[in-house]
Every structure is written in structure tokens, then in C-alpha cells.
Symmetry: none
Amino acid sequence: MSSILLNCMGAVTDHSEYSEPEVLFKNPQIHVKNPQLDTMEEDILYHFNLGTKTHNLPEMFGDIKPGMGVPSISIMLHKLIKLLHHARCIDFALFRIGTSGGVGLDPGTVVVTDKAVDCFFRAQFEQVVLGKVITRSTELDVGVSKELLQCSSELDDVPTVIGNTMCTSDFYEGQDRLDGALCSFSTEDKLEYLRKAYNTGVRNIEMESTVFRAMCHVCAIKINQSPMSLTFFDRENSVIKF
Amino acid sequence: MSSILLNCMGAVTDHSEYSEPEVLFKNPQIHVKNPQLDTMEEDILYHFNLGTKTHNLPEMFGDIKPGMGVPSISIMLHKLIKLLHHARCIDFALFRIGTSGGVGLDPGTVVVTDKAVDCFFRAQFEQVVLGKVITRSTELDVGVSKELLQCSSELDDVPTVIGNTMCTSDFYEGQDRLDGALCSFSTEDKLEYLRKAYNTGVRNIEMESTVFRAMCHVCAIKINQSPMSLTFFDRENSVIKF
């Protein structure tokens, strides 16, 4: 069985070398699959207003995060699922790994997602289709989470827990941050909400998990056989400790 | 007055003076709505890798274009509004221009947004804050739209209309596309929904307008004096004709 790794924003890694991991170590730089690029005098990334001649890209970008949230990942998922279908892929698993804000955890703790829940702590995702709200389950086989947790026990210095992952549609107000352009609540309000979340089993917060789970659930992508949980790394500066 | 152009994913202007337009002239700098900012030693716009102590924001600010959908643009809007605030920008306007799917229009028609509406054709945006739904208006001064339409009349070969822009959270099912990985409706269902949308005044569909309007509305960025409408170009392959 092969695995497909989806990074933070749902960017798909280069799959072609997954089954040959040794190649990664020989040449770890990303390989784009477009020979035309080599013939261009300059490559202009026009949606970013950047160019290879006008900007020092290696210096400027150690960290890029294009596309965030349910709409972005759902666009990618529609295409990815269709791609897997057209390519007649069989016997594969999807993993999604990304950063998240931890709730009541030490920074650096890995959270293997049990349930993906919405802002009301419900394991569901609401999709509006033709003006009607359709509610989809985000439940997956709990055995998969336990299997992933078991794997982590074989690693040193990687604290790992199973917990619920809360998915929000907003990074600031939706994740009770105090440093947005809009903030109508106090630190106490924030902590009260996070305590509620913690008490329902939430251990981290991010912005894509429910639609990822829901779409996989609807498409029945080997839910019983294949791990399809999310694994998140806590973001140090947003970890909430009680 | 200077203008700030937000491409595709949208950008923002100063909203804070909506109910007191005369204040704009007395103190035209953008007012963010978060008293917490004043207590911070430094404000780090970490998705932009910028900080108020490490960067000269008034000197640096230009034009940023990340992501797709409400979550992505809202992240950018929070940062942009704060950036405009920190940069002490005055007397400016925000325009957002991007592609969209037209409804009942010829391909290439420019739509100047009158109302930004949700999938239920309501001129509002729902934001969940600490587990509670907050409903924000997306209404703006209609005079601005008419002014933009008037400008367009001076251009040859640019068919332009004023209409409502519908904002969805999904590109496929949410915009009644038949070519997603999931599709539970027929062509007839799709056309029926689009006819309903058209009859309520919708002329195009995209994924960011409501939160853009709502955040601008809350921050009251020169709504009476400055144009802040969205202008969209119809995407040829998604135009629905009746």
C-alpha cells in the first residue's frame, strides 16, 4: 500500500519518489515537472508579483503558505480525488500533516486526530449545495488513530496524543486570537472557550480537517483499511496551557 | 486619494469611520478595532513575515495576494488592515478585482458589485467567534457602485453591469458545478438554483466578497467617500446563459 502525504495547505508532495525514499536523500531539492522552466530567462510568479530575476527568492521565502482554509483545500481535494480516480489508483492511503494550535499541550506535541469537529464541537461538516445545507459526518475508523499512536511510541522525543481537532473558518476571531484587526472578546472569554473545547476532547485547532474528513468519508476512501487521519504539530506560539 | 488594488483574492481599505464619515477628514488614518494591539510591544504579521519592530512598514507596503476563499482572504484582511493602520495610511480606497462566474451575462462582462450575498441570497456574512455565530452586514453605499458604472461608460468594448455578487465557500458543489469529485444534483437542479439567484439580482459568483465587505463594513473604511466595491470579470467557461 502506498501513501500520499498532504502538507499543511493541502499541497501535494511529489509522489513519484515516495516508494523510493533514497532518492530524497540524494537530491532533496524539490523537482518541478516542467522542462520548459529551464529554457526561460525569467520565471514570473505573477499571482505573487515575484520573479526569479527581480527577487531573491531563496532569501525571501523560507516559508510560504499559499491557500488556507476549507475552500482552498476543498478545491484541491476535488481535483486530487478525481486525479486518483482517473489514474485508477488502488490500495493507497492519504495522510495530511500540518501545523496547528495546541490546546492544553506542550509545544511540539504531535496530535493524531481522532474526531475532526467544527466550532461547536460537532463531528460534522456543513456544505451548502444549491442553497441547502448538507451535513456530512467527519467520523473515521478510530482504529486507525490508535494504530498511528502506536507507531509514534516507537519514536524517541516525539510526544504524541490522540485528540479531537477543531476546524475553524477563520484564523483570528474564529480561533480566539487577540491580535487580529477585529477582536471583541477578552482573554478570559478566550480561555473559557478553550476550556470548553478541551473538555470535549479538542487538543488542537486548524482550518481544514472537517472538509478533508467529510470528503474522504463521502468518497469512502478505504476508511477501514487505510489510515486517513490528520497529524498536526503544535505551533509553539499558540499553544494554550491550563 | 490613493487607491489600493486587491487582485483576485481581495484586499482591504480603512473601515473604521463608517458611522462618522466626517471623522475621515479629521483623522483619516485607519483604525483597527482591537484595543489589545496598543498593549503589545511588537505586532508580528507572521504569515507575512513582517513585524512592527523589524520592518519599516510605512516604507515597505505594497500588494499581497495569497490564497482563495473566505479563510484565506480574511487572514490577509486582518493583516492588511493592521498593516494600513501601522503604516498610518490615510486617504486611500480599496478595490478588489478578480475573476468570477457570470450568471445570465455574456462572457467578459464586468460586474460592479452592488450587494455581496451569501448562498441564501442574504447580504450578510456569518462569523463564528468563540462558538457563537455573529452576523455582519455586507451592505455598502450604493452610490459607489453607480459611480463605478458611470466610469465604465467612458470605456469602449467593456460591457459592465451592476449586480449582486454571490459568495460561496466551495468552488464545486457550492457553485453548482457538475465536474467536481462530488455532485448530487442534476443540470436542471443547477439551472433552477441559478435562476433563483438571478431573480434576486445575482450576476456573478465567487468566494471572497462577503467577508471582504463585512470586514470593511465593521472597520468603516471610507464607505461613503471611497469606492470599495468588487469588480469581477466573468470567466468565460462558467457563464450561465438563460
